[in-house]
């Protein structure tokens, strides 16, 4: 994104529309800090510039990732809109989170701080030795150079985006080690992050991950997203549920 200095009348209307506070009035000129801009299009789409001075520029690789990970209506490298997979939302059909396993989602950068991929890599590399796999249909997984080490492609590391979701699946016995790895990252990343635990419930509606997390001193929130089991497997479906 850029501001055409010949058209800009320095009214300042666009300044509050930047979620990264990357637009500033310098003297009587309004400028966008390109390094901090995540190309979310918020200023272009919503600020209503009276002289149409805000201009989209053609984004080349890897800067295009900023737009894909920041504007929710732009498809990402996995050709999906959104930043993650369907995860537990369709688990009653896909059965990707089975008894004995759990899912972990680590969302970095939100609310409203943003994240660079070098911080995302700290998470993927910390988790990689303990897990079965990174979620297949996830744009971060697509950016991994090596799925066994969690290393991300070098050319994207300095790119900043609004938020990123890392998703993994691992056996239940790995949960304590993963939680400790995550806790250690609290002071190592330059942004905020939120971890969430996904699990198939037992016959009585209890989650095995909640008990383990509590035993290790973590406090899962009592407010949840709950799949209430109404999905039906479509005829001919050959996903995880049939394995």
């Amino acid at each position: 994104m850029r501001i055409d200095p010949d058209k800009c009348i320095a009214c300042g209307n666009c300044l509050p529309y930047c979620p990264m506070a990357a637009i500033a009035m310098i003297g009587d000129i309004v400028v966008i800090n390109e390094d901090e801009c995540v190309e979310c299009d918020c200023c272009f789409d919503f600020a209503g510039c009276p002289t149409a001075a805000i201009e989209k520029v053609d984004l080349a690789w890897p800067r295009i990732l900023r737009n894909q990970f920041s504007n929710p209506v732009v498809p990402t490298v996995t050709s999906m809109t959104g930043r993650g997979s369907e995860e537990m939302k369709t688990n009653d059909v896909t059965n990707q989170f089975r008894a004995g396993f759990f899912g972990l989602g680590v969302e970095l950068g939100r609310p409203g701080i943003g994240v660079r991929f070098d911080d995302v890599e700290k998470v993927t590399m910390a988790l990689a030795p303990h897990i079965n796999k990174f979620a297949a249909v996830n744009p971060v997984t697509e950016l991994l150079e090596d799925r066994t080490t969690g290393k991300i492609r070098a050319e994207v590391l300095s790119e900043k985006v609004m938020s990123v979701l890392v998703e993994i699946i691992a056996p239940l016995e790995k949960l304590p080690a993963l939680l400790q790895e995550l806790a250690a990252l609290k002071t190592k990343v330059n942004t905020v992050f939120c971890a969430s635990l996904i699990s198939r419930l037992d016959e009585n509606g209890n989650s095995p991950v909640v008990e383990i997390a509590r035993q290790w001193g973590f406090t899962p929130e009592i407010r949840t997203k709950t799949n209430i089991g109404m999905g039906k497997i479509p005829p001919g479906y050959r996903g995880e549920a049939h394995k």
């Binding site: 929710p72 537990m88 059909v93 899912g103 942004t191 992050f193 969430s196 997203k225």
Partner: protein, 128 residues
């Protein structure tokens, strides 16, 4: 495809077409969701429990601003826009309702709740 709907009570959950085969995810206090499902003869299947926000929390805006901005899960409603909206109210440039609607626009998915924003803006504006 996903559809989102806000339900004010357990009984309203019953409008879901039970046999259509769609996956349905309910957000709320887990014990309440489980109780509602049991009442309807449904068995809860899978949960997602957050462990809260970690890391550089000192970078976050105040809790009262976060209550508004986080209604857009994609982070498209900036804290600076909330401050701007509050200033519009203070200077008489807009009503609380107009200010809430201004905040609603960047949330392209439509999950931002303008009625709640109006209540929260009014509460903050009253204090200042």
């Amino acid at each position: 495809m996903s559809i989102e709907k806000l339900f004010g009570s357990c009984s309203k959950l019953q409008i879901f077409p039970r046999h259509a085969g769609y996956s349905v995810v309910v957000q709320g206090l887990y014990d309440d969701v489980k109780r509602c499902c049991n009442k309807m003869g449904l068995k809860v299947h899978t949960t997602n429990h957050s462990l809260g926000i970690w890391g550089k929390k000192e970078k976050l805006p105040s809790q009262e601003l976060l209550e508004i901005t986080t209604m857009c899960g994609h982070g498209m409603v900036p804290a600076s826009l909330v401050k701007d909206a509050l200033n519009d109210i203070k200077t008489g440039k807009s009503t609380v309702k107009e200010a809430a609607l201004k905040l609603t626009r960047p949330c392209v998915c439509g999950t931002f709740n303008p009625d709640r924003a109006e209540r929260l803006l009014a509460k903050i504006a009253e204090k200042k």
